[in-house]
């Protein structure tokens, strides 16, 4: 099992308190391949691809348009 996390230092929360999950490219519960870009996060007029390093079963923790910050776990990958 692996958490899907927004990198801790991606943006400065003192300046920009939050971003959003702009899109999920795979549905909750679907199987995703290793290296796939599974979601897109948006903050400060920046879009950020969230990719997974291993293949597995996707569980979405923060839905589309959900509010996030660096370090937020937005989902997880369970072993296929």
């Amino acid at each position: 099992m692996a958490d899907i996390v927004i990198p801790n230092d991606l943006w400065d929360v003192a300046i920009t308190p939050e971003g959003i999950v702009a899109n999920w490219f795979y549905a909750d519960g679907s199987d995703v391949p290793a290296g796939a870009t599974v979601a897109e996060v948006m903050a400060e007029k920046s879009t950020f691809d969230i990719a997974v390093s291993k293949a597995g079963h996707l569980h979405v923790a923060v839905p589309k348009d959900g509010v996030v910050k660096p370090g937020t776990v937005i989902g997880r990958i369970d072993d296929a």
């Binding site: 230092d9 991606l10 943006w11 400065d12 300046i15 920009t16 702009a22 899109n23 290296g35 870009t37 897109e40 948006m42 903050a43 400060e44 007029k45 920046s46 879009t47 950020f48 691809d49 969230i50 990719a51």
Partner: protein, 258 residues
Amino acid sequence: MPEISGMRSLVNSANISGNSAQASKDFKTFESAAGGLRHQEELLANEASDGRQRFLVWQAPQALIVGPTEGRLSNLTTAANHLRSEGWPVVRRHSGGSTCPVSSETLQIAIARLGVPGVTIETAYQQLASLICTVIRSYGLEPAVGIIPNSFCPGRFDISISGRKVAGLSQRWHHTGGRMIVTTASTLIVDGGSRYLVQAVNLFYRFIGKTNFCSESAVGSLRQSLPAPLVGDNLLDDVSHRLLREWSSAASIQTLEH
């Protein structure tokens, strides 16, 4: 009176050789904004995956470039058809923010680099904003960085002169080939007036049902800010030249520091 160079031809691709702090620069003119954006988002990003920073200045005919959120609106196609009939093709981009106009009087500027430790959204914005501000100062003007409300695509790294936005920045962190490529891009309004750009954005907003329109007084151009006509006036060429030169200068400093 600030002088500009008589050089009309622009610098072609050039590599600064030496060591890991290499960077390349390029100017291109595209037949369409869609073509320019495709080059910026795909080719530039692919090239940057080798570890070298890439710098691109490009120019294209007028278009409206919409960000991801507006690009997913259900009525986008209808709105785009209306705008196309008014002479404004609508193109979708991957970087964040809202709708931004481009034209033959604006320059598109982009830096692509690997997203390595130490590179953050903030540092990537600062890199491009600093470069653009340095060029604006070379004309004897004093730019400010900060959000300009009621401008199109407002953001914390808006670049303004006397309270009027002349440049906006956006970013894309793209995971490709196992690497993260960070592309920071800007539209710099160089020549002509800015009213027609604002009007195009507001027309688009009307068609997609938005009610918070842009204000013409919030947007300007480099041309409007200059105190007097320039000697040998070809402002777009001159700004491009200065941008490329400033990039080379910054890259050389990086090379020396390594």
